[in-house]
Amino acid sequence: MERIHSLYLHVPFCTWVCKYCDFNAYAVLEGLIPAYIDALAREIETAGEALPIGPLDTVFIGGGTPSLLTTEQVRRLMDRVHRIGLAPGAEITLEANPSNVTSEHVDGWLRSGVNRLSVGVQGLQPDALRFLERLHSGSDAIAALRTARAGGFSNINADLLYGVPGVKLAGWLETLEAVLAAGVQHLSAYELTVESKTRLGQEVRTGLVPMPGDDEQLAQYWAAAERLETSGYEHYEISNWSLPGFACRHNLVAWQYRPYLGCGAGAHSMFRRFDRSTERRWNIKGPQAYIKQASASGHAVAGSETLSPERALGEAAMIGVRLLDGTTAARGFPVQRTHLVEAGLLAEHDDLVRLTRRGIELANQVGAAFLV
């Protein structure tokens, strides 16, 4: 298989699982963290031996809330990562909850090699934070961004949510303004998505919570896009913006259809075989089962699927079109391309296709067209 240069580590613990979240995250299981770190370290080690991996260009420690780990625990994980080998200038991201961004933590993270911090701001307005069940305040979040910067991080991302019930366009733009003022190099703005299995999903289903309509959500999206562009941020993926040179390299690996290894509970891996087929694997989701399995055997794969070269091509195009500079991944689909261009969803430049404005709004229609 193709050599792997990207590693994702999953930390499935949170102090509180917010009602809209459908990630693999668990509250009140924090007591499991030490055993979990042992198991995860073991899994990284085993994978490092068994797979063609390294030197690593990107590492992403995500969750859950990785900032709940002690700096010592982060260091232990990074030790294992170092043993696989890091490429010069590797991007090493850690996701943090604003409540955990203290100068001590920042110092510890930097020392263990983390050089990109992704802060889960989500919102700043009290109503929005209450609705989203965030335990930090707006000023906590801004303070977190400042602390990270002051402590030495020069590559910081803020995660934001728009389309939150009760937050109008003006309120959303104020939030955006404040985050920009705090000085971030990267910004992810996600539409608040109602996932059916979450508590929010249930509240929306039962009519308890009315969600903003499509027009309102799109208005907030495009207003943000315009505002960010004014400040020199490049809109490089549907929900992501960065100053030049600060696009998230780890996520680009997935969008450009390059392989990565995922370790930890519920983590997904993607491998590319030399025959152009793709293998996807995923780990056991539950932390306790994961710990048991990974500590015993060094791996915790729960399932996998292999996509034929043809289907892999379609999947690559489905993901690739999310990159707004365009992608060559849709090369093999002339019929679909023509149809989508005629429908005004795609623009074509030689081998490259790019979503139009309308194409962004209907990106799933575009992506689905390439699935065979």
């Binding site: 799109l218 549907i238 519920g266 993607m270 996807r280 429908a343 209907l362 992506g367």
Partner: protein, 600 residues
């Protein structure tokens, strides 16, 4: 194995749909040891998967049981299980013609319903001795006494003769069998006379060809004779005769009064028509048995493969299905909107549903069915008369002198509180009121003359919903009548969709057009662009609605761990789209083609 004629009985079980006919048959089979308890599955006689799943009987079945009665004698009881639905009433009538008696099953909680009456009338026409049974007496809402009284007053059978039973619990089974051997007369035919055997069903067996179900009324049917079908004139060498126990069991002969089957290398059920008389070509009977009727379809609809490449498969599937279903007719049809398909004729809506479901299930096809319509008779200005079973084929108004439509006599049985609702509904549906009869048990029998077209358009569902499920319906075709009809066209995205055309009453056409457009708006999913829907009469637009363009369909987060889930989601949506038919640029779901059926 041979039983003297005086100990032979031939009976059928008749009932309104769902009153427990098939379950009772199961009990009889069990009680007489015809089916060993370990082989007992529910609905033994229903052989199609679809029959078991839906709990209905589509094909008639026959079985021979041996019953040792209290008088010490062992009787041979031939039981014919019949379909209960009005679509198959001709099959029922032929099955009854093959019997000497009938067990009438009435649900203790529902009482007498429309098909109970229709079946009783048929049974009486055939001079059958009726053994009345009140079934489901174990249900909490059962009122057996009231139903017994109803049977006496409505049908005229003495209350003392009514047997209380619960087929589910096996109560009353023995009493029913005793009544059968006591009450139902033995057959009277002469085994030495020239052969006359009535065909009451036929099914296709992939290995043996057509298996013809017969009751010998006179003479004896032997293996090796040349069987002649008296209506079609065709003759076949009989390879095998046998009885059902319940599986096919060959015997040497079937003599007068006996029920069984014959196999004669017949390749198509059309050559073995229900109602036809089998005789011996070497010594033919002088006249066929009475009552033969050529089965004619009552409703017509187009069936199209959603994937145009499945046309050939659909053709082959129809050919195979037709081998087993003499009532199904079809011919190729081309629709500008839907491409190549077949115009099919059915006995009724249930028959249509069953055929479509069997085609999809047994032949792995994905089909699109257009709204069913009746066959109109159109008199042209030039004096010619043409049948029209497809609204799109209606000649232009300038050529038409008049249009006639099929009329039925509809019998509705309903509790008296709903009479007003039933009358209103029937009036709305161009019904012509004929008669009201009040029956005991607070039951009313209404009769109407109605266009069949109105009945197939949602009438039955409305009947049920406006009577809280209590009304029941039976109908029979009585003829054709001239009517003031006009063609309503539908344009989707600016192009006419021939498969959505309908023929409607002129006075209601504009209103129907508006309702149809409104309804289609809710059924056609949003597309990438705005889709106008228009209804037109003779080129004049009478209604317009617009399906707005799809506004937003984008996943906010798609990272490494989300890809599989997202791909599967999109694949699933795509799979769902296969059930849509692309007409021009617009994807139209199956339900849209049925929209014309429920415009109220």
């Amino acid at each position: 194995m041979s039983t003297p004629t005086r100990l032979t009985r031939a009976i059928s079980v008749i009932a309104h749909v769902d009153h427990g006919k098939t379950t009772l048959s199961d009990r009889l089979l069990e009680f007489t040891g015809t089916v060993a308890p370990r082989d007992m599955v529910e609905q033994v006689l229903d052989q199609l998967d679809l029959e078991r799943e839906r709990g209905i009987t589509i094909k008639a079945q026959a079985v021979r049981m041996l019953y040792k009665a209290d008088d010490g004698q062992t009787y041979q009881i031939n039981l014919i299980d019949t379909p209960g639905h009005v679509d198959f009433s001709y099959e029922v009538s032929r099955a009854l013609a093959a019997c000497d008696g009938a067990i009438l099953v009435v649900d203790a909680s529902q009482g007498i319903e429309a098909q109970t009456l229709a079946n009783v009338h048929q049974a009486l026409e055939h001079n059958l001795k009726i053994v009345p049974v009140v079934n489901k007496i174990d249900l909490p809402q059962a009122d057996p006494e009231l139903v017994r009284e109803e049977i006496e007053k409505v049908i005229g059978l003495p209350a003392e003769s009514v047997i209380f039973a619960s087929a589910r619990q096996g109560i009353g089974t023995k009493e029913i069998l005793e009544a059968v051997v006591r009450e139902v007369p033995p057959p009277t035919g002469d085994p030495a006379a020239p052969l006359r055997a009535l065909i009451f069903d036929a099914k296709f067996d992939a290995y043996r060809g057509v298996v013809t179900y017969v009751r010998v009324l006179e003479g004896t049917l032997r293996k090796g004779v040349r069987a002649q079908m008296m209506q079609t004139g065709k003759s076949f060498e009989v390879d095998e005769v046998g009885i059902f126990r319940p599986e096919r069991t060959p015997v040497d002969d079937l003599s007068a009064g006996e029920v069984g089957y014959l196999i004669a290398n017949i390749r198509n059920v059309r050559d073995s028509r229900v109602g036809d008389t089998v005789t011996d070509a070497a010594r033919p009977a002088s006249a066929p048995l009475p009552g033969y009727r050529h089965v004619t379809p009552m409703v017509f609809a187009g069936l199209f493969p959603t994937d145009t490449e499945q046309y050939q498969q659909l053709k082959e599937a129809l050919e195979k299905l037709q081998l087993n279903d003499a009532a199904l007719v079809y011919e190729p049809e081309t629709s500008a909107a839907l491409g190549f398909g077949f115009r099919c004729g059915f006995l009724g809506l249930l028959h249509m549903e069953i055929v479509q479901e069997r085609l999809e299930r047994e032949f792995n096809l994905t089909l699109l069915g257009t709204a069913p319509t009746v066959e109109y008779r159109v008199r042209l200005r030039n004096g010619e008369e043409v049948p029209v079973d497809n609204p799109d084929h209606l000649p232009s108004p300038s050529e038409i002198e008049s249009i006639s439509e099929p009329i039925v006599l509809a019998t509705i049985v309903v509790p008296s509180v709903y009479v007003g609702n039933m009358m209103q509904l029937s009036q709305e549906r161009r019904g012509q009121y004929l008669n009201t009869v009040y029956e005991p048990g607070d039951r009313v029998v209404l009769t109407y003359r109605m266009p069949l077209a109105e009945i197939i358009h949602d009438y039955y569902d409305q009947l049920k919903s406006r009577s809280k499920g209590y009304a029941s319906l039976d109908y029979e075709l009585v003829g054709f009548e001239e009517a003031n009809l006009v063609k309503l066209d539908v344009l989707v995205g600016g192009s006419p969709v021939d498969a959505l055309s309908m023929i409607v009453d002129r006075t209601k056409a504009q209103q129907q057009g508006r309702r149809l457009a409104e309804k289609l708006k809710t059924l056609i999913p949003r597309q990438l662009f705005e889709v106008p829907i228009q209804a037109a009469i003779g080129g004049k637009i009478v209604a317009r609605e617009t399906v707005p363009a799809m506004r937003k369909d984008v996943t906010a987060k798609c990272y490494g761990g989300d890809v599989t889930r997202k791909r599967k989601l999109l694949e699933k949506q795509k799979e769902g789209k296969k059930r849509l038919k692309r007409v021009g640029n617009v994807e139209i779901p199956q339900e849209a083609f049925m929209a014309v059926l429920s415009l109220d």
